[in-house]
Symmetry: C2
């Protein structure tokens, strides 16, 4: 068994209502100055704990993440300037993937000694001096437990990853109630993103048994619960399973990470401004079909984990899994073609150009995937 390093928050609290616990935790850890980053409509849910925080004497700075698009370097600068002089002892980030990523970066760069431009890539962050608490309000990103943050670099017009153990939150408060009001479309897109994290880790060229454990459980939870979470937003059991699945997906990101789905989605998010989850969701069945041949046994095991019957031979079982995920995606309202989302045939070469730049993820793919194959995958779902 090859070596691996697992990094995760030292405390993960899971359960309905646990999100409000950030105040007591900050107090117990002796943190006075707390930066709270969130966005509408989540502020309303936080009102109660903000009152409690003030009653308990915390110095609170509430910072609003206004944008509806993915985080970029200009947004970071704007937020950083607002909280530069505050010197937070704790950063609490409450939101979807964009808010969590931004909160993680604000926490890690709070001391001002490094700028985003200095830390794009792996292990370039020097330190983080504050307590970092993440509270996800979607079940998808996994950022609440992962060492990753994604930021669009406006200088290069390119989406980039920042990966560092310092970006792993100290605490994740995973409260399925926080996801109940998430609309069906966002539930579907973010849920499919979590599914991509799990599937891309499980079938990864650098897969590892310790991470497979998380990935397979996440795949099972999502396949069995995403439809219900989309159709009955208040179903707390489905929301709970999805919240855990998102966590499991996040636990896959540090030690193994994603592969071609995420690489091929960069252009869709960058050029067409697809939401991150949607871009991945549209690509997933096509990339699975392409990758399946690399490891029929693992693909068959995924199908069995989803609760599908053993078809008697690995290829048939594996294929039934891919088809079931395509069906899940369709049932959850994910568009099945790029053209229906405005992508044109003549853009495919450029999309493939952009995907080819994401070597750090393409290197993880179980089958070699060059420019030509990328175009073919886009073409197959045009």
């Amino acid at each position: 068994m090859r070596s691996i390093e697992l990094i995760q928050p030292k405390r993960i609290v899971f359960g309905a209502g646990c999100a409000q616990g950030w105040v007591d935790i900050a107090v117990a850890e002796g943190k006075q100055r707390v930066l709270l980053l969130s966005t509408d409509p989540i502020w309303a849910v936080l009102d109660r704990s903000i009152d409690v925080a003030r009653q308990k004497g915390l110095q609170l700075m509430c910072l609003d993440y206004t944008w509806r698009s993915e985080p970029d370097t200009d947004m970071f600068e704007g937020l950083y300037r607002q909280c530069e002089s505050f010197g937070p002892q704790a950063v609490v980030s409450v939101g979807g993937g964009s808010v969590l990523d931004m909160g993680k970066l604000l926490a890690a760069l709070a001391s001002g000694t490094q700028k985003p431009a200095d830390v794009f890539g792996k292990n370039l962050l020097e330190r983080r001096d504050n307590l970092l608490i993440c509270i996800p309000t979607t079940a998808g990103t996994g950022s609440e437990v992962s060492p990753n943050a994604i930021l669009f670099d406006k200088r290069d017009d390119e989406k980039k990853g920042i990966i560092s153990p310092w970006l792993v939150p100290d605490l994740a408060l995973i409260d399925p109630e926080m996801t109940c009001s998430l609309p069906p479309k966002l539930t579907a897109e973010t849920g499919m993103d979590a599914l991509c994290h799990c599937i891309e880790a499980y079938t990864n060229k650098f897969a590892h048994p310790t991470v497979d454990l998380y990935a397979l459980k996440g795949i099972e939870y999502i396949y069995k619960n995403l439809r219900t979470a989309v159709n009955e937003g208040n179903n707390i059991e489905a929301r709970s399973a999805m919240a855990l699945a998102s966590m499991y997906g996040g636990l896959c990101l540090g030690p193994v990470n994603t592969s071609a789905v995420h690489a091929l989605s960069y252009g869709l998010a960058g050029k067409y401004h697809f939401a991150h989850g949607l871009a991945n969701a549209v690509l997933l069945p096509a990339v699975m079909t392409f990758n399946m041949e690399a490891d029929l046994e693992k693909n068959a095991r995924m199908a069995l984990a989803m609760g599908l019957p053993d078809k008697g031979n690995m290829r048939a079982t594996a294929l039934s899994g891919v088809e079931a995920i395509r069906e899940l995606s369709r049932d959850c309202g994910i568009p099945q073609s790029l053209s229906s989302l405005g992508v044109k045939k003549e853009d495919l070469p450029e999309l493939a150009d952009m995907a080819m730049k994401v070597k750090r993820l393409l290197n993880n793919n179980p089958r070699e995937l060059e420019w030509k194959e990328a175009v073919e995958i886009y073409q197959s779902i045009l």
Copy 2:
């Protein structure tokens, strides 16, 4: 799904050879004064990294854990006095469960503001100010990732638990090579202890899906690898699987913990000075037989996780699992009767008295177990 809190080291490094990494980690974290606790014959393996540590300018205090018995309050005092003035910035504990537990306590009590007598029980430790690294040399304790430490309190003549998030190490370096020289008897006893952690968490009254995931994987690994680890000590694949199983067992201890096996073993360790793992191993099949009725489905699922065939009905499948574990225990050389280990019939009431004191674990048991049932269980394996 009920709420739960998962606590674990923020970094777990797994892999052959990783144990020597403690020096670089201490340097990278800026820790100058390092307390290294270990015991013979492990010191010899550490020679190389001790040299490197000194070359890199670390101030090293090597503290020897001499005893062959389980840690008690007097031993703690003796070790504490030796390192009291050293003021370690990092504590590195390398050994089996006793050494790791002692290292965790020395780290947490290093500041001198609390004594063991102040912290017996749950959540009474106030803080820990140093970096704590644990390196297990057995595959059993799980202490390298758990919030537990066990200390025999000489004042009350009683084995007691200290449970606190501050006892969760910051880093666990899980190096299967460190376990290769462990003799067959110790491999068997410690391995069966890890199996108890997993089984007692999985069948626990307070079991939780997030912990079941670890428990079931641990059970699978141990059932499939313990025989090989006992018979071929240098089989690195078997040692690797056992090392991970021990970690999974340890991850069960904080959020769920053990139940009647561990409670009933307290007297065997206390009065008869059985090794901890041996005491648990002897009891395990009898307690499983007693508990099985409480949840046939979960017992059947354990059997399936072990790779046993589905017998067509839950009771038969569950029973086959219990029998398979009895057989595993026998194959690994664990004595199957208390009398063969010197326990007399007339001592059973007193053993039951002692077990009844361990309410914190008995409360976890899936079936109610009073004094009478405890005597019956001891009697059944006399």
